[in-house]
């Protein structure tokens, strides 16, 4: 067996995604209109859509870490005086949670985010590449 054989075998074969060099991205979920006004049935439908979307990402190997939702309250510490102010923050910018995604590039990561149900209620996903070491 020649030394070049393993490489030759890969020629002409489209590379499965796990063989690509994958990069990591952070999805930051910005809530838009909250779900406070939704009915029980609507809330359940929203949740099921999210679960389906996350499951889809996981099955295709894009979900590195499901991440977590965040409590709406918090504190902001800022300035040289280290001023501490209380949340809540402006509703539409409120970060509701985050997940860690694997994709081949920023364009793909952004494309994948389009399936997120957050857009149904005026929310947004911020897609940020994680800086490589």
């Amino acid at each position: 067996m020649s030394a070049g054989a393993p490489l030759k075998r890969l020629e002409g074969v489209s590379q499965p995604s796990r063989e690509c060099v994958m990069s990591e991205f952070l999805y930051v979920y910005r809530n838009g209109n909250g779900v406070e006004k939704a009915s029980a049935e609507e809330m359940q439908k929203i949740m099921q859509k999210w679960m389906t979307w996350m499951q889809g990402l996981a099955e295709k190997g894009h979900l590195k870490d499901r991440g977590h939702p965040l409590e709406p309250e918090g504190k902001l510490v800022s300035g040289t005086g280290k001023n501490v102010t209380d949340g809540p923050y402006a509703e539409k910018d409120l970060v509701g949670g985050y997940s860690l995604i694997e994709a081949k590039d920023l364009a793909q990561a952004a494309e994948l985010s389009k399936g997120c149900p957050i857009f149904d209620r005026g929310g947004a996903v911020e897609v940020r590449p994680i800086m490589k070491m």
Binding site: G34, E41, I46, M47, W50, M51, M54, P69
Partner: protein, 420 residues
């Protein structure tokens, strides 16, 4: 077999509000609703990331319970709560067991029932009672209620807000006991659930899915009554029997093309045998005691239909006799119309028409599309196409949704086709 997760939020929201109201008191209903909404929000946020836990219902209950304890601790000096817990709030931790108790599996069924009895307060109209039951116990939003009953959201909102205000004068949920008051409320609950079911079964809403949902909720709540020692009276069993026997025939009322299909034309193989058997069993169980309720009679009529192999082989004589009894208990032109249709089935269309013309107060049927439709049907059977067509046109104008419109249109066309 329905998916246990289907409508989970809706179902649990009613249970949570009932338990919270028991702890907080009826005057704090709004607070209970906020805490419930918050518990659902938390479930939504956590589950969308991590998926549903193995026992989602227990997860929701625990979350609501913890929130309730927080609220009590935070607000115990600012608010008054339910009388049974107020005393316990004086010492910091003694109220926790009371909250735990309110959320126990048995207690929560009681809480739901007590809430149902609270909702049928005699100070409220029947429409308001039904709207409140749907809103509080079935988790329907104001929009969903207005959609189901084809009223404006503003009207539904007003009805619910006013009803809540009336009930806020009570601090406690209605007490389940063998009292006179309990018996009176139990019949009011029966009537409210009957109305809810009928809105689903015969209602004007064009969307079958919405109507099926109303029927399902009515059955679920009626089963809560059946499962309670004091509430499982013969009329309760008869009401549930009636619902089962009607629901069994639901799938065949609209045919594959989405068109309305009348009893004689329905595909009886589509009727749900299991529900018919359950209805029959309940009807047998309900035959105790000395009082015959309207639900007994209606269930018996429904059973005559459900057990007949064909429309021709139906025991119409018995059905007419049952309608006679029903009219004595609850005189109504709609029931008299149904009786006349049954007479036509065994004595012929001319007899049926005579019975219709003899209905007392039939001017009240003026806006009921099935009144001119029945007239048209019988005239057509007598071979009077012109008269039949005229009645079907009136019915078409009264039709409440596209399904009914299509049906009437079809009957008008049938008049033109029929040979003289």
């Amino acid at each position: 077999v329905s998916d246990p997760v289907e409508h989970l939020f809706r179902r649990e929201s009613g249970r949570i509000i009932a338990a919270l109201t028991r702890v907080f008191g009826f005057h704090n209903l709004e607070l209970a609703e906020d805490v419930m909404q918050d518990a659902l929000c938390r479930a939504l946020e956590v589950w969308k990331h991590h998926g549903m836990p193995d026992n989602p219902s227990a997860w929701l209950m625990t979350t609501a319970k913890n929130q309730a304890v927080d609220v009590l601790r935070r607000e115990r000096t600012a608010r008054t709560f339910a009388p049974e817990i107020t005393r316990l709030l004086e010492s910091e931790w003694t109220f926790r067991p009371t909250v735990e108790a309110a959320f126990g599996p048995h207690a929560i069924q009681d809480d739901e029932l007590r809430m149902m009895f609270s909702c049928v307060d005699p100070r409220l109209t029947q429409e308001a009672q039904v709207a409140l039951i749907l809103h509080i116990l079935c988790g329907f939003s104001v929009n969903e209620i207005s959609n189901a009953f084809l009223c404006t959201p503003a009207a539904a909102e007003k009805r619910i807000t006013r009803a809540k205000k009336v009930l806020a004068s009570d601090t406690k949920l209605f007490e389940l006991s063998g009292s006179e008051d309990f018996r009176a409320r139990l019949s009011a609950v029966h009537r409210a659930l009957y109305l809810l079911f009928n809105e689903g079964y015969h209602g004007a809403n064009p969307r079958t899915a919405v109507r099926v949902e109303l029927c399902r909720e009515a059955v679920r709540l009626a089963k809560l009554l059946r499962d309670h020692r004091l509430a499982a009276t013969p009329p309760t069993l008869a009401l549930l029997a009636l619902m089962c026997l009607h629901a069994a025939r639901m799938p065949s009322r609209v045919d594959e093309s989405g068109s309305l299909s009348l009893l004689p034309d329905q595909d009886r193989s589509q009727w749900n045998r299991e529900l018919i058997e359950e209805g029959q069993r309940l009807l047998e169980q309900s035959a105790t005691g000395d009082a015959v309720s309207e639900f007994h009679i209606e269930a018996a009529i429904a059973w005559c239909h459900a057990s007949a192999p064909t429309a021709q082989a139906t025991n119409w004589v018995q059905i007419v006799a049952l309608y006679d009894t029903l009219l004595r208990i609850r005189p109504s032109p709609v029931i008299a119309l149904n009786r006349a249709i049954a007479i036509a089935q065994h004595a012929g269309p001319e007899q049926g028409l005579t019975a219709i013309h003899a209905i007392e107060g039939r001017e009240r049927l003026r806006t009921y599309p099935f009144y001119p439709m029945a007239l048209g049907e019988l005239e057509l059977q007598c071979g009077r196409r012109g008269a039949a067509s005229h009645h079907f046109r009136t019915a078409l104008q009264l039709a409440r949704n596209p399904t009914e419109q299509r049906f009437m249109q079809g009957r008008i066309e049938a008049c033109a086709r029929q040979p003289c």
